[in-house]
Protein backbone atom coordinates (compact mmCIF):
# COMPACT_ATOMS: atom_id res chain seq x y z
CA UNK A 1 0.00 0.00 0.00
CA UNK A 2 1.36 3.30 -0.89
CA UNK A 3 0.15 5.63 1.80
CA UNK A 4 2.61 8.42 1.40
CA UNK A 5 2.72 11.67 3.26
CA UNK A 6 4.49 14.64 1.82
CA UNK A 7 5.76 16.89 4.53
CA UNK A 8 7.65 20.12 4.12
CA UNK A 9 10.46 19.86 6.63
CA UNK A 10 11.82 23.35 6.96
CA UNK A 11 13.04 25.94 6.01
CA UNK A 12 11.68 27.22 9.29
CA UNK A 13 11.57 24.34 11.68
CA UNK A 14 12.28 24.33 15.38
CA UNK A 15 14.79 21.48 15.27
CA UNK A 16 16.74 23.15 12.52
CA UNK A 17 18.81 26.02 13.80
CA UNK A 18 19.38 26.99 10.21
CA UNK A 19 17.11 26.97 7.23
CA UNK A 20 17.29 23.97 5.00
CA UNK A 21 14.34 22.34 3.39
CA UNK A 22 13.41 18.74 2.76
CA UNK A 23 10.50 17.33 0.87
CA UNK A 24 10.00 14.49 3.26
CA UNK A 25 8.01 11.64 1.82
CA UNK A 26 6.92 9.32 4.58
CA UNK A 27 4.98 6.15 4.96
CA UNK A 28 3.52 5.85 8.43
CA UNK A 29 6.50 7.06 10.45
CA UNK A 30 9.06 5.85 7.95
CA UNK A 31 10.86 8.21 5.64
CA UNK A 32 10.94 6.83 2.13
CA UNK A 33 12.38 9.82 0.38
CA UNK A 34 14.00 13.07 1.30
CA UNK A 35 14.88 15.67 -1.28
CA UNK A 36 16.90 18.55 0.08
CA UNK A 37 16.63 22.10 -1.06
CA UNK A 38 19.09 24.79 -0.07
CA UNK A 39 19.92 28.40 -0.83
CA UNK A 40 17.95 29.95 1.99
CA UNK A 41 21.25 31.21 3.39
CA UNK A 42 23.12 31.91 0.21
CA UNK A 43 24.73 35.35 0.33
CA UNK A 44 27.38 35.07 -2.31
CA UNK A 45 30.22 36.23 -0.14
CA UNK A 46 32.90 34.55 -2.21
CA UNK A 47 32.37 37.24 -4.80
CA UNK A 48 33.26 39.83 -2.20
CA UNK A 49 36.96 39.12 -2.76
CA UNK A 50 36.68 41.23 -5.85
CA UNK A 51 35.59 44.21 -3.80
CA UNK A 52 37.57 43.79 -0.62
CA UNK A 53 41.24 44.17 0.01
CA UNK A 54 42.72 40.74 0.64
CA UNK A 55 43.79 41.73 4.14
CA UNK A 56 40.37 43.09 5.08
CA UNK A 57 38.68 40.06 3.62
CA UNK A 58 39.63 38.19 6.78
CA UNK A 59 36.68 39.89 8.40
CA UNK A 60 34.37 38.44 5.81
CA UNK A 61 35.99 35.02 6.13
CA UNK A 62 35.44 35.31 9.85
CA UNK A 63 31.74 35.65 9.25
CA UNK A 64 31.28 32.76 6.84
CA UNK A 65 29.93 30.87 9.77
CA UNK A 66 29.40 31.69 13.39
CA UNK A 67 30.34 28.32 14.77
CA UNK A 68 33.50 27.71 12.83
CA UNK A 69 34.29 31.37 12.51
CA UNK A 70 37.89 31.11 13.57
CA UNK A 71 38.62 28.14 11.38
CA UNK A 72 37.49 29.97 8.29
CA UNK A 73 39.64 33.01 8.90
CA UNK A 74 42.53 30.75 9.75
CA UNK A 75 42.08 28.74 6.56
CA UNK A 76 41.83 31.88 4.50
CA UNK A 77 44.93 33.35 6.09
CA UNK A 78 46.87 30.15 5.55
CA UNK A 79 45.94 30.12 1.89
CA UNK A 80 46.99 33.72 1.37
CA UNK A 81 50.14 33.30 3.41
CA UNK A 82 51.14 30.28 1.36
CA UNK A 83 50.61 32.17 -1.88
CA UNK A 84 52.69 35.06 -0.65
CA UNK A 85 55.29 32.87 0.99
CA UNK A 86 54.89 34.50 4.36
CA UNK A 87 56.46 32.62 7.22
CA UNK A 88 54.08 32.88 10.16
CA UNK A 89 55.82 33.08 13.54
CA UNK A 90 55.66 29.93 15.57
CA UNK A 91 53.92 31.56 18.52
CA UNK A 92 51.19 32.78 16.22
CA UNK A 93 50.79 29.28 14.87
CA UNK A 94 50.43 27.92 18.36
CA UNK A 95 47.91 30.58 19.29
CA UNK A 96 45.92 29.80 16.19
CA UNK A 97 45.95 26.15 17.14
CA UNK A 98 44.76 26.88 20.65
CA UNK A 99 41.89 28.99 19.40
CA UNK A 100 41.04 26.42 16.77
CA UNK A 101 40.85 23.66 19.34
CA UNK A 102 38.80 25.85 21.66
CA UNK A 103 36.47 26.43 18.73
CA UNK A 104 36.21 22.72 18.26
CA UNK A 105 35.28 22.23 21.89
CA UNK A 106 32.62 24.92 21.87
CA UNK A 107 31.23 23.69 18.60
CA UNK A 108 31.10 20.09 19.78
CA UNK A 109 29.50 20.96 23.10
CA UNK A 110 26.97 23.08 21.29
CA UNK A 111 26.31 20.19 18.99
CA UNK A 112 25.85 17.83 21.92
CA UNK A 113 23.31 20.23 23.38
CA UNK A 114 21.35 20.73 20.19
CA UNK A 115 21.37 17.01 19.49
CA UNK A 116 20.04 16.38 22.98
CA UNK A 117 17.28 18.84 22.32
CA UNK A 118 16.48 17.16 19.04
CA UNK A 119 15.77 13.90 20.78
CA UNK A 120 13.79 15.64 23.46
CA UNK A 121 16.25 15.64 26.34
CA UNK A 122 15.84 19.18 27.52
CA UNK A 123 17.83 19.05 30.72
CA UNK A 124 20.77 17.60 28.86
CA UNK A 125 20.57 20.42 26.34
CA UNK A 126 20.59 22.99 29.12
CA UNK A 127 23.48 21.31 30.86
CA UNK A 128 25.56 21.13 27.69
CA UNK A 129 25.03 24.76 26.85
CA UNK A 130 25.85 25.67 30.39
CA UNK A 131 29.18 23.90 30.12
CA UNK A 132 29.86 25.68 26.87
CA UNK A 133 29.88 29.09 28.55
CA UNK A 134 33.36 28.73 30.15
CA UNK A 135 34.83 28.22 26.69
CA UNK A 136 33.08 31.33 25.44
CA UNK A 137 34.42 33.20 28.44
CA UNK A 138 37.93 32.18 27.44
CA UNK A 139 37.23 33.53 23.96
CA UNK A 140 35.98 36.78 25.34
CA UNK A 141 38.97 37.22 27.57
CA UNK A 142 41.47 36.43 24.88
CA UNK A 143 39.92 37.95 21.77
CA UNK A 144 37.16 40.26 22.93
CA UNK A 145 34.39 38.43 21.13
CA UNK A 146 32.21 35.53 22.11
CA UNK A 147 31.34 34.14 18.74
CA UNK A 148 33.09 36.04 16.00
CA UNK A 149 36.65 36.05 17.24
CA UNK A 150 38.38 38.14 14.64
CA UNK A 151 41.69 37.01 16.03
CA UNK A 152 43.40 35.81 12.90
CA UNK A 153 45.03 38.05 10.37
CA UNK A 154 47.18 37.56 7.35
CA UNK A 155 50.65 37.07 8.68
CA UNK A 156 49.80 36.07 12.20
CA UNK A 157 47.26 36.82 14.88
CA UNK A 158 45.85 40.03 16.24
CA UNK A 159 46.27 39.46 19.91
CA UNK A 160 48.69 37.69 22.11
CA UNK A 161 47.74 35.70 25.14
CA UNK A 162 50.01 36.30 28.07
CA UNK A 163 51.45 33.50 30.13
CA UNK A 164 49.07 34.02 33.05
CA UNK A 165 46.07 33.76 30.81
CA UNK A 166 47.49 30.70 29.18
CA UNK A 167 47.89 28.89 32.46
CA UNK A 168 44.44 30.18 33.42
CA UNK A 169 43.02 28.58 30.30
CA UNK A 170 44.77 25.37 31.14
CA UNK A 171 43.36 25.41 34.63
CA UNK A 172 39.86 26.18 33.50
CA UNK A 173 39.91 23.40 30.98
CA UNK A 174 41.11 21.03 33.67
CA UNK A 175 38.14 22.16 35.71
CA UNK A 176 35.78 21.72 32.77
CA UNK A 177 36.96 18.22 32.12
CA UNK A 178 35.16 16.37 34.97
CA UNK A 179 31.98 18.27 34.22
CA UNK A 180 32.23 17.30 30.60
CA UNK A 181 32.86 13.73 31.63
CA UNK A 182 29.66 13.74 33.63
CA UNK A 183 27.78 15.12 30.64
CA UNK A 184 29.35 12.63 28.27
CA UNK A 185 28.45 9.83 30.61
CA UNK A 186 24.79 10.58 29.95
CA UNK A 187 25.32 10.45 26.22
CA UNK A 188 27.31 7.28 26.38
CA UNK A 189 25.36 5.30 28.93
CA UNK A 190 21.80 6.55 29.26
CA UNK A 191 19.27 4.05 27.99
CA UNK A 192 16.93 6.55 26.42
CA UNK A 193 19.75 8.29 24.59
CA UNK A 194 21.00 4.98 23.31
CA UNK A 195 17.50 4.12 22.20
CA UNK A 196 17.43 7.26 20.12
CA UNK A 197 20.94 7.07 18.73
CA UNK A 198 22.30 3.59 18.37
CA UNK A 199 21.45 1.85 15.15
CA UNK A 200 19.99 5.03 13.73
CA UNK A 201 21.30 6.36 10.45
CA UNK A 202 23.82 3.66 9.74
CA UNK A 203 26.48 4.53 7.20
CA UNK A 204 28.91 1.85 6.16
CA UNK A 205 32.59 2.51 5.66
CA UNK A 206 32.31 1.95 1.92
CA UNK A 207 29.40 4.33 1.61
CA UNK A 208 31.15 6.91 3.70
CA UNK A 209 34.08 6.66 1.33
CA UNK A 210 32.21 6.68 -1.95
CA UNK A 211 29.83 9.45 -0.87
CA UNK A 212 32.78 11.56 0.12
CA UNK A 213 32.14 12.01 3.79
CA UNK A 214 34.51 14.03 5.88
CA UNK A 215 35.04 14.79 9.52
CA UNK A 216 33.30 13.03 12.40
CA UNK A 217 30.83 11.58 9.93
CA UNK A 218 33.61 9.72 8.11
CA UNK A 219 35.51 8.92 11.28
CA UNK A 220 32.43 7.39 12.88
CA UNK A 221 32.21 5.02 9.94
CA UNK A 222 35.80 3.94 10.39
CA UNK A 223 37.52 6.19 7.87
CA UNK A 224 40.75 7.65 9.13
CA UNK A 225 40.24 11.18 7.91
CA UNK A 226 41.64 13.92 10.05
CA UNK A 227 43.33 16.88 8.41
CA UNK A 228 45.11 17.73 11.62
CA UNK A 229 47.29 14.75 10.87
CA UNK A 230 48.83 16.50 7.88
CA UNK A 231 50.32 18.88 10.36
CA UNK A 232 49.30 22.36 9.34
CA UNK A 233 49.88 25.20 11.75
CA UNK A 234 51.21 23.95 15.07
CA UNK A 235 49.69 20.50 14.82
CA UNK A 236 52.96 19.12 13.61
CA UNK A 237 54.37 19.70 17.07
CA UNK A 238 51.43 18.12 18.82
CA UNK A 239 50.32 14.57 19.34
CA UNK A 240 47.23 14.41 17.18
CA UNK A 241 45.22 11.24 17.20
CA UNK A 242 42.16 10.89 15.01
CA UNK A 243 39.16 9.54 16.90
CA UNK A 244 37.80 6.59 14.99
CA UNK A 245 34.62 4.64 15.62
CA UNK A 246 33.44 1.82 13.43
CA UNK A 247 29.71 1.52 14.07
CA UNK A 248 28.71 4.23 11.64
CA UNK A 249 25.48 5.15 13.39
CA UNK A 250 24.39 8.31 15.17
CA UNK A 251 25.70 6.93 18.42
CA UNK A 252 29.16 6.45 16.94
CA UNK A 253 29.14 9.98 15.57
CA UNK A 254 28.19 11.21 18.99
CA UNK A 255 31.03 9.22 20.54
CA UNK A 256 33.53 10.60 18.07
CA UNK A 257 32.62 14.14 19.04
CA UNK A 258 32.70 13.38 22.73
CA UNK A 259 36.15 11.83 22.47
CA UNK A 260 37.35 14.69 20.33
CA UNK A 261 36.27 17.09 23.04
CA UNK A 262 38.60 15.49 25.51
CA UNK A 263 41.31 15.13 22.94
CA UNK A 264 41.06 18.83 22.17
CA UNK A 265 41.42 19.67 25.83
CA UNK A 266 44.55 17.55 25.88
CA UNK A 267 45.88 19.20 22.73
CA UNK A 268 45.32 22.67 24.12
CA UNK A 269 47.08 21.85 27.34
CA UNK A 270 49.91 20.30 25.38
CA UNK A 271 50.13 23.36 23.15
CA UNK A 272 50.16 25.66 26.15
CA UNK A 273 53.06 23.69 27.49
CA UNK A 274 55.00 23.89 24.25
CA UNK A 275 54.21 27.41 23.14
CA UNK A 276 57.40 29.35 22.36
CA UNK A 277 57.99 33.01 23.04
CA UNK A 278 58.31 35.31 20.08
CA UNK A 279 56.49 37.70 17.81
CA UNK A 280 52.88 37.08 16.91
CA UNK A 281 52.83 38.50 13.45
CA UNK A 282 54.95 39.48 10.51
CA UNK A 283 54.38 42.44 8.32
CA UNK A 284 52.82 41.47 5.03
CA UNK A 285 53.97 43.34 2.02
CA UNK A 286 52.90 43.15 -1.58
CA UNK A 287 49.96 41.34 -3.01
CA UNK A 288 49.24 37.66 -3.54
CA UNK A 289 49.96 36.22 -6.92
CA UNK A 290 49.28 32.55 -7.47
CA UNK A 291 46.88 30.02 -6.04
CA UNK A 292 46.70 27.73 -3.09
CA UNK A 293 44.34 25.29 -1.48
CA UNK A 294 44.52 25.20 2.25
CA UNK A 295 43.09 22.24 4.10
CA UNK A 296 41.94 22.53 7.66
CA UNK A 297 40.08 20.26 10.01
CA UNK A 298 37.00 22.07 11.19
CA UNK A 299 34.74 20.71 13.92
CA UNK A 300 32.60 19.36 11.08
CA UNK A 301 35.41 17.99 9.01
CA UNK A 302 37.80 19.01 6.34
CA UNK A 303 37.37 22.46 4.89
CA UNK A 304 39.21 23.59 1.78
CA UNK A 305 39.92 27.23 1.17
CA UNK A 306 40.99 27.95 -2.34
CA UNK A 307 42.43 31.35 -3.12
CA UNK A 308 43.79 32.69 -6.36
CA UNK A 309 45.53 36.01 -6.59
CA UNK A 310 46.58 37.99 -9.63
CA UNK A 311 49.08 40.31 -8.08
CA UNK A 312 46.59 43.01 -7.15
CA UNK A 313 45.19 43.90 -3.73
CA UNK A 314 42.07 42.01 -4.70
CA UNK A 315 41.99 38.28 -5.01
CA UNK A 316 40.76 36.92 -8.27
CA UNK A 317 38.97 33.92 -6.92
CA UNK A 318 38.12 32.54 -3.54
CA UNK A 319 36.25 29.40 -2.84
CA UNK A 320 35.36 27.37 0.20
CA UNK A 321 34.49 23.73 0.04
CA UNK A 322 32.89 23.08 3.39
CA UNK A 323 32.46 19.75 5.21
CA UNK A 324 28.67 19.92 5.45
CA UNK A 325 28.48 20.12 1.70
CA UNK A 326 30.39 16.89 1.25
CA UNK A 327 28.34 15.19 3.92
CA UNK A 328 24.93 16.01 2.44
CA UNK A 329 24.84 13.07 -0.03
CA UNK A 330 25.49 10.71 2.85
CA UNK A 331 22.78 12.39 4.89
CA UNK A 332 20.24 11.91 2.12
CA UNK A 333 21.20 8.29 1.90
CA UNK A 334 20.76 7.59 5.59
CA UNK A 335 17.59 9.65 5.83
CA UNK A 336 15.85 7.22 3.53
CA UNK A 337 14.50 4.35 5.54
CA UNK A 338 14.78 6.14 8.85
CA UNK A 339 11.84 7.32 10.91
CA UNK A 340 10.42 10.78 11.28
CA UNK A 341 11.56 10.81 14.87
CA UNK A 342 15.09 10.07 13.65
CA UNK A 343 15.18 12.80 11.06
CA UNK A 344 16.36 15.52 13.45
CA UNK A 345 18.93 13.16 14.92
CA UNK A 346 20.30 12.25 11.54
CA UNK A 347 20.39 15.80 10.30
CA UNK A 348 22.07 16.92 13.47
CA UNK A 349 24.63 14.14 13.69
CA UNK A 350 25.91 15.57 10.48
CA UNK A 351 26.30 18.78 12.46
CA UNK A 352 25.10 20.72 9.46
CA UNK A 353 26.39 24.20 9.04
CA UNK A 354 24.22 25.59 6.32
CA UNK A 355 25.68 29.05 6.39
CA UNK A 356 29.07 27.53 5.59
CA UNK A 357 27.53 25.39 2.92
CA UNK A 358 25.79 28.17 1.11
CA UNK A 359 28.02 31.08 2.06
Amino acid sequence: MAQKNTIPFGPQHPVLPEPIHFDLVTEDERVVDAIPSISYVHRGLESLVEKRDFIDFVHVADRICGLCSFMHSMGYCQAVEEIMGVEVPLRAQFLRTIWAELSRIHSHIFWLGVAADAFGFESLFMQALRLREPVLDIFEETTGGRVILGASKVGGVRRDIDADSLSGISKRLAHLRPQLEELSNVFINDYSVKHRLSGVGYLSKEDAYTLGCVGPMARASGLDMDMRAIGYSAYKYLDVQPMIETDGDCYARCLVRIRENFHSIDLIREAIGKIPEGPIEVKVKGAPNGEYMSRIEQPRGEVIHYAKGNGSRFLQRFRVRVPTFSNIPAMIKILKGSEIADVPNIILTLDPCISCTER
Binding site: E140, T143, G144, E182, L183, N189, D190
Partner: protein, 125 residues
Protein backbone atom coordinates in the same frame (compact mmCIF):
# COMPACT_ATOMS: atom_id res chain seq x y z
CA UNK B 1 20.86 -0.59 30.28
CA UNK B 2 21.28 2.32 32.61
CA UNK B 3 18.56 4.74 33.41
CA UNK B 4 18.49 7.92 35.45
CA UNK B 5 22.09 8.64 34.47
CA UNK B 6 21.16 12.30 34.37
CA UNK B 7 19.66 12.20 37.85
CA UNK B 8 22.87 13.13 39.63
CA UNK B 9 23.37 16.22 37.54
CA UNK B 10 19.82 17.51 37.73
CA UNK B 11 19.56 16.92 41.45
CA UNK B 12 22.79 18.79 41.99
CA UNK B 13 21.45 21.60 39.87
CA UNK B 14 18.33 21.70 41.98
CA UNK B 15 20.16 21.90 45.27
CA UNK B 16 22.96 24.18 44.17
CA UNK B 17 20.51 26.76 42.96
CA UNK B 18 20.29 28.30 39.53
CA UNK B 19 23.36 29.33 37.59
CA UNK B 20 21.49 32.18 36.00
CA UNK B 21 23.34 35.47 35.84
CA UNK B 22 20.07 37.42 36.44
CA UNK B 23 21.17 39.83 33.80
CA UNK B 24 19.03 42.97 33.95
CA UNK B 25 18.96 42.95 37.73
CA UNK B 26 22.63 42.37 38.08
CA UNK B 27 24.98 44.06 35.65
CA UNK B 28 27.27 41.89 33.66
CA UNK B 29 30.98 42.53 34.07
CA UNK B 30 32.95 42.47 30.87
CA UNK B 31 36.59 41.88 30.26
CA UNK B 32 38.78 44.78 29.39
CA UNK B 33 39.11 43.79 25.76
CA UNK B 34 35.48 42.87 25.13
CA UNK B 35 34.50 44.45 21.86
CA UNK B 36 31.37 46.36 22.82
CA UNK B 37 31.23 49.57 20.83
CA UNK B 38 33.55 52.09 19.18
CA UNK B 39 34.15 55.38 20.96
CA UNK B 40 35.93 58.45 19.72
CA UNK B 41 37.79 60.95 21.81
CA UNK B 42 36.66 63.71 19.55
CA UNK B 43 39.13 66.24 20.94
CA UNK B 44 42.01 64.22 19.57
CA UNK B 45 40.40 63.43 16.24
CA UNK B 46 41.91 64.97 13.16
CA UNK B 47 39.09 63.90 10.85
CA UNK B 48 41.43 62.20 8.44
CA UNK B 49 38.77 59.73 7.31
CA UNK B 50 41.05 56.71 7.31
CA UNK B 51 38.71 54.81 9.57
CA UNK B 52 35.75 55.45 7.28
CA UNK B 53 37.72 54.30 4.28
CA UNK B 54 38.75 51.10 5.95
CA UNK B 55 35.40 50.21 7.54
CA UNK B 56 34.11 46.97 5.98
CA UNK B 57 30.50 47.83 6.78
CA UNK B 58 30.47 51.53 5.86
CA UNK B 59 29.42 52.42 9.37
CA UNK B 60 31.56 55.50 9.71
CA UNK B 61 31.22 58.84 8.01
CA UNK B 62 33.72 61.57 8.63
CA UNK B 63 33.30 65.07 7.41
CA UNK B 64 36.33 67.27 7.58
CA UNK B 65 34.44 70.52 6.89
CA UNK B 66 31.90 70.08 9.67
CA UNK B 67 34.44 68.41 11.90
CA UNK B 68 31.97 65.66 12.33
CA UNK B 69 32.48 61.97 13.03
CA UNK B 70 29.40 59.75 12.82
CA UNK B 71 29.09 56.07 13.57
CA UNK B 72 25.99 54.11 12.71
CA UNK B 73 25.78 51.64 15.56
CA UNK B 74 23.47 49.47 13.50
CA UNK B 75 26.20 49.04 10.93
CA UNK B 76 29.32 48.78 12.98
CA UNK B 77 30.50 45.21 13.38
CA UNK B 78 33.17 46.14 15.92
CA UNK B 79 35.92 44.53 13.91
CA UNK B 80 38.46 46.90 15.44
CA UNK B 81 39.94 47.81 12.05
CA UNK B 82 39.30 51.50 12.55
CA UNK B 83 40.95 51.41 15.92
CA UNK B 84 43.98 49.74 14.43
CA UNK B 85 44.21 52.13 11.52
CA UNK B 86 43.65 55.38 13.42
CA UNK B 87 46.82 57.49 13.18
CA UNK B 88 46.20 59.50 16.35
CA UNK B 89 44.71 56.65 18.38
CA UNK B 90 41.62 58.64 19.26
CA UNK B 91 39.38 55.66 18.56
CA UNK B 92 38.94 53.00 21.16
CA UNK B 93 36.75 50.00 21.83
CA UNK B 94 34.51 50.38 24.81
CA UNK B 95 33.69 47.09 26.47
CA UNK B 96 29.98 47.68 26.87
CA UNK B 97 27.70 46.92 23.99
CA UNK B 98 25.31 49.36 22.42
CA UNK B 99 21.74 48.80 23.59
CA UNK B 100 18.97 47.87 21.21
CA UNK B 101 16.96 50.68 19.69
CA UNK B 102 13.51 50.97 18.23
CA UNK B 103 14.29 53.64 15.67
CA UNK B 104 16.99 53.42 13.12
CA UNK B 105 18.05 56.99 13.47
CA UNK B 106 18.60 56.90 17.22
CA UNK B 107 21.47 54.54 16.61
CA UNK B 108 23.39 57.22 14.73
CA UNK B 109 26.03 58.50 17.05
CA UNK B 110 27.24 61.94 15.97
CA UNK B 111 30.24 63.65 17.40
CA UNK B 112 31.12 67.12 16.30
CA UNK B 113 34.06 69.17 17.34
CA UNK B 114 33.04 72.78 17.81
CA UNK B 115 35.42 74.96 19.60
CA UNK B 116 35.69 75.14 22.45
CA UNK B 117 33.49 72.24 23.57
CA UNK B 118 32.60 69.05 21.90
CA UNK B 119 28.95 68.32 21.19
CA UNK B 120 28.10 64.73 21.77
CA UNK B 121 24.90 63.26 20.48
CA UNK B 122 24.67 59.79 21.78
CA UNK B 123 21.46 58.39 23.09
CA UNK B 124 23.35 55.99 25.27
CA UNK B 125 24.93 58.67 27.36
Amino acid sequence: MRIFVMAKTVLRNLFQGPATLMYPKRKRVYTAITRGRIENEIEKCIFCGLCAKRCPTYALTVSKENKEWVVDRLKCCICNLCVEVCPVKCLSTHNHYFSPVTERLTALCKKRLEAPTAVVVDPQQ
